[in-house]
Symmetry: C2
Subunit: 371 residues, 2 copies
């Protein structure tokens, strides 16, 4: 993940897909899912499923682009799972991709607002950061939280991404750095925001019994759920609660037959630090309003109670929109396979990823486990 | 389908979805699939799955946008089928939508080219019609076909759409009308091209045993397949053969356990008349090069050997991109349920729909049958 001036979107998602195929050691796939939000705007290119099929030289199979704003990647994983579960496909390639630096930043910012309601919210002139700044302001006021507490989330992100070779940021930051960084939309500052960047990520899904032939450490998707909420922030009764996340995680826990406290390591969608904090609450790890203190107490660190975004998350790894939900799965898998290096969480057996589209309108929950 | 100046994209896909729910008589859905190519360009709006979920007031369920250029609708049906087949959803709403008249025609034309390769084909300056004009010119030269033969396809389309209340065009046209219509890209004339227009179409998918509780005439999806080809026309060895269509139909016939001659009524993707004609060949109904004569001999008429696009197809009904693949299913279902009115094909038991994305790069085949 980074500003990949020397690579095209085609380069990014082809390279990532081939790496995944090589890593597993297969030369056959039955279906392709591409998670991507805005190649139409960024590259003037649609039909990414067929494009990836072409770039890989693999023809004659279903190739689908899935879009749900910033949840496009997680949703592509969910759809890939359905392809396997339906019995129609055995080997499914899921690739998330976004190349955002081909346009100017204001154009990228406008594209992000397309995940919100264009008629009611975007046309008012407010930006995607602006909407989240409203959430942050209310949160700080209602729960008597200081900017220092929220900033800790970003500090932890960089602390973790330092050890992730695929991450965009390899520099440590302090609470003071966050509080001194430029104000983007009062009270939100630059270092609370994930980046506009380029990247791609790929995984291979297949039935568990087949996976066992390829690896001694297969990872099972115990549950994959998606839920929606009112699309636009102004429509909601309480902008400090992500209802879609609540519904999706409740459904996922039932399917996986576990309690939320059984989860050892998580990936939350910290497009902005405040979103990561509220997500911890709506996932059920802490009570409403206590997320910021939980974070500033160090509980989300690798040796804390709830290791969170252990390879950097959206803030540290970078947030190439369509790739993010797939990256989350990869980073969880690295933990569950015991391959997370310096970021390794001891005895990590169950992982949970939360991927959000729009201002919380779509939530994808994937629960993964060692077999 | 038409130029819907008084309705927004939201109006179109909400109205269509509610009509489908009312028609079936259910108030519960488990998942939403939206087929759409370019709302990003046409409306500045992404995240259409969550948007439709919101417009319907149905929250907490998976809502997915599926895109594969002009095959977005057919692919949404295919993905909806997987959702049911996976056991994860019982009632799936599949809605296709495109509102193309919110932008100027040149912008819509550019958007259509995004289904082709932006780097290799679009940047050369050739238009989507231009690419198909190359196909038509070579076809006419190689198989000694006159413009009159190709024009017959469009004449048949309007003859059928006259009786379809949902169609855009209710006027009869003659071969002479087609040949006198403006030249768009030599040798292709205006009346060989489907329209830029607005429309939405919705269906409900569910397991067959459940469908039987709602209707005495349930229609089964016997097979649903997708295949890809080299994305860009200049890459292909033979631009007169749609390989994706050939692979997809071969796979579909195997799954459905039928021969192509068992099919009673079909929907082919006549974005341009020449595409409809070549599709008849690659689907296996006639030999390569004999499609145009088959059409001009009247074999695709309602009382002909192979009733084709009996409610107008893309030319007569209109081609609101993301909606087209869903409309094809609806029009087949009307035939199979015996509700096609003046266009009714006698004893129609098996129907086949072919939906194409790009210049033939993606092909979706759905085979439907009376139970």
């Amino acid at each position: 993940v980074g500003e990949q001036w020397d690579k095209s979107l085609k380069d990014l998602f082809t390279e990532s897909s081939i790496k995944a195929l090589d890593d597993v050691g297969i030369d056959k796939i039955d279906a392709i899912y591409v998670g991507n939000m805005s190649s139409d705007i960024f590259q003037g290119q649609a039909n990414l499923g067929a494009l990836l099929s072409d770039c890989l030289g693999v023809y004659g199979i279903p190739a689908v682009r899935v879009e749900a704003a910033c949840a496009s990647g997680g949703l592509a994983v969910h759809e890939g799972l359905k392809a396997v579960a339906s019995g129609l496909s055995d080997f499914v390639l899921v690739t998330g991709v976004e190349k955002m630096t081909d346009v100017q930043t204001p154009e990228a910012t406008s594209a992000l607002m397309m995940g919100e309601d264009q008629e009611y919210a975007a046309f008012s002139g407010i930006s995607f950061v602006g909407l989240h700044a409203l959430i942050e302001r209310l949160y700080m006021d209602k729960f008597k939280v200081n900017p220092e507490h929220i900033a800790t989330f970003a500090v932890n992100a960089h602390k973790n991404s330092v050890n992730n070779p695929y991450a965009q940021f390899h520099n440590l930051i302090s609470v003071e750095d966050v509080l001194k960084s430029p104000m983007i939309a009062d009270p939100m500052r630059l270092l609370e925001c994930s980046s506009i960047c380029d990247g791609a990520a790929s995984i291979i899904l297949c039935p568990l019994d087949i996976a066992k032939k390829f690896t001694d450490t297969p990872i099972e998707i115990k549950a994959s759920t998606v839920a929606t909420d009112k699309l636009s922030l102004p429509e909601r009764e309480d902008i400090l609660t992500f209802s879609a996340t609540r519904v999706a995680v409740e459904n996922a826990l039932k399917i996986a037959h576990i309690n939320i406290q059984d989860v050892d390591v998580i990936e939350v969608h910290d497009a902005f630090s405040i979103v990561g904090i509220i997500s911890l609450e709506d996932l059920g790890f802490v009570k409403k309003g206590e997320g910021a203190n939980f974070v500033s107490d160090g509980q989300i660190e690798i040796d804390g109670k709830l290791p969170t975004n252990t390879l950097g998350g959206l803030k540290g790894r970078g947030h190439p929109i369509g790739a993010t939900g797939v990256y989350q799965i990869i980073d969880l898998v690295r933990q569950l396979m015991g391959e997370a290096g310096k970021s390794q969480v001891k005895n990590a057996e169950i992982g949970l990823a939360q991927n959000i589209g729009g201002t919380g309108a779509t939530a994808v929950i994937n629960i993964l486990a060692r077999v």
